[in-house]
Symmetry: C2
Subunit: 349 residues, 2 copies
């Protein structure tokens, strides 16, 4: 009986709102956000309630950072690279072209000092604490009306691709288009654009791109592993009881592995269905990959000249990535190339 008032004092009833960037139809992502909220509730005996909202319900899907920063909502689930207009380095929290895969990103953030670095240098100054909370894995390169067998075929191609990937495509001669999600399908159908990227088989199938473009290229060298994050307003986070902070930390980590697993579970049957619908899976040629990689790192060096924050994080990140590539090129890739790397010779393109 003595302990009871202490327990009670430690555990305020809280009702928070989570703004997300996802429509409910993006089940792996919105489902992941919902799972996070549910788990935090379960871990706190229902005293710490967080309710998730789809993009546009509270704030626009690309306003999550601002909403959390300003305290309009206490927390969010989003992809940091939507906000590179606020700080270019936010890209490292999600994905950068020729960067890290999902496993490498986790290694960097959880055990390689990346989370501390990103929070201290990037998120805290914005009034936010961020937690890794999901990854799509390596995305697909996207939908092309015609084949693009080599680098020359990219010249003048009108492609919808945002972010750093778009900047690099532009350097390769692509005419980069900006379109909101709802505009992509009709533009591709009418031939206003020749190509678009989106996410991967499960998400893309639902948007129906396969009906109007049959060449599905891989990989997305611009998103070798796109991570999504839970944001918490820093002031609100710091005022939480320790136990609630731990609940957020553990639930975010569980959500991270859950979303990745959900994508990995949903994508393979979608691949089969797309094949049945006449989609051809084609690998980007090595000359496209090599030229894109060259332009990517040229761009990063240019950014480092003008942006001290980018320079610092890029330096740490790049050293970590290089070590990861060395290691993953051995056992992991030695296994993959034999076990399922022969797909391309049995495959389509």
């Amino acid at each position: 009986a003595v302990a009871a008032p202490w327990v009670h004092a430690q555990e305020p009833r809280l009702r928070w709102r989570m703004a997300t960037s996802w429509p409910e139809s993006l089940e792996p992502l919105f489902g992941g956000a919902s799972h996070f909220c549910q788990r935090v509730g379960e871990l706190t005996g229902g005293r710490f309630e967080i309710r998730p909202y789809a993009g546009g319900e509270l704030v626009g899907g690309l306003q999550v950072l601002d909403a959390v920063r300003s305290g309009t909502v206490e927390t969010g689930h989003t992809a940091s690279y939507y906000y590179t207009g606020t700080a270019q380095s936010l890209a490292f929290d999600t994905a950068v072209p020729f960067g890290m895969t999902a496993r490498m990103q986790n290694a960097w953030l959880y055990q390689g000092g990346g989370r501390e670095l990103m929070n201290e240098r990037v998120f805290r100054p914005l009034g936010i604490v961020a937690f890794p909370a999901g990854n799509t894995g390596t995305q697909m390169g996207g939908w092309f009306r015609e084949e693009v067998p080599d680098l020359a075929a990219l010249q003048g191609l009108r492609m919808r691709i945002p972010g750093l990937g778009g900047e690099i495509m532009q350097r390769l001669g692509v005419s980069v288009q900006t379109l909101a999600a709802a505009e992509i399908y009709p533009a591709l159908e009418r031939g206003v654009i020749d190509a678009t990227e989106f996410v991967g088989p499960w998400d893309d199938e639902r948007l129906g791109f396969w009906e109007v473009a049959k060449n599905y290229y891989y990989p997305s060298w611009w998103e070798p592993g796109a991570m999504v994050s839970v944001y918490v307003n820093a002031e609100r986070y710091d005022a939480l009881p320790e136990r609630y902070r731990q609940a957020i930390t553990a639930a975010a980590a569980e959500t991270n592995v859950r979303i990745t697993s959900d994508y990995d579970q949903r994508n393979p049957p979608a691949v089969r269905r797309l094949r049945e619908n006449g989609v051809r899976f084609r690998r980007f040629s090595d000359d496209i990959m090599a030229a894109a990689e060259r332009e990517a790192y040229a761009l990063y060096e240019e950014l480092a000249e003008d942006d001290a924050q980018w320079r610092e994080i890029y330096g740490e990140w790049k050293a970590f990535r290089d070590l990861q590539y060395e290691w993953f090129g051995l056992a992991e890739q030695g296994y993959a190339r034999f076990a399922y790397g022969r797909g391309e010779v049995m495959g389509d393109g």
Copy 2:
């Protein structure tokens, strides 16, 4: 004040013990088990204490399943394939040769119905509830005194390799040796064995194998992703308050991603140090890989004839694995082969 007695009633003070299979020196694994215990404590305001013990402290490192099953300890952290003498199907919880990588294993267990299947069919009948709680990633194939350039070189080779990997090696003509961990180094040094497998660069470096064998082969086709698990005595688990069960679930998932990240963070610098010490990294030839894969699946079919439990789980598992291989052969492998799959041509073997 009304709520306080309820909160108190929901939250008994518990002191549990966790038997692990790890010496404290295996930092990623014992550190992961310790992290799990700490997080459960933090999530429960310190009321649910679990204390981790190294292998041999409470029970032997390979007696964890029996200790949890009998209730000698409430919980454990171990690798299920140590106990295939109890049920052959336990191998699916850890790794089987030419099976799933860490990400695929997560997809199967968290989102593909694997955890429900394994708990219902294998663990519950043993009086245990199991949670995924760590993965080494694809392991290295091991240390060879001489090069083994092809399948013929395996004939008569004396190699220390346990489990299903050992059974397959035997079918390939290897003379399989059983040695306790402490006996491996002297046997390799004196030439009593020609080769041994263990885990990967970080763990193996500490055992000093590089001093007495310079050929470090990859990948471990017998452990493409070795998972470790948290076991909880089923009767004790069912009697826990819901909130404590949630704490175990979330902390185990966090530990899963943490241990994988810890290995991924520790292995790359160990690769560099081993190279500096004259170790040559060599890839198993395709004829060895192909013959081993053939024997692996022949063995699984044989096991399915005599073991109804194996047959049921193998069927589900194999269908899931085949879908995963199809998908991972596209974007993920398409990226890897370009980005870090060229290591072998810049590399040693």
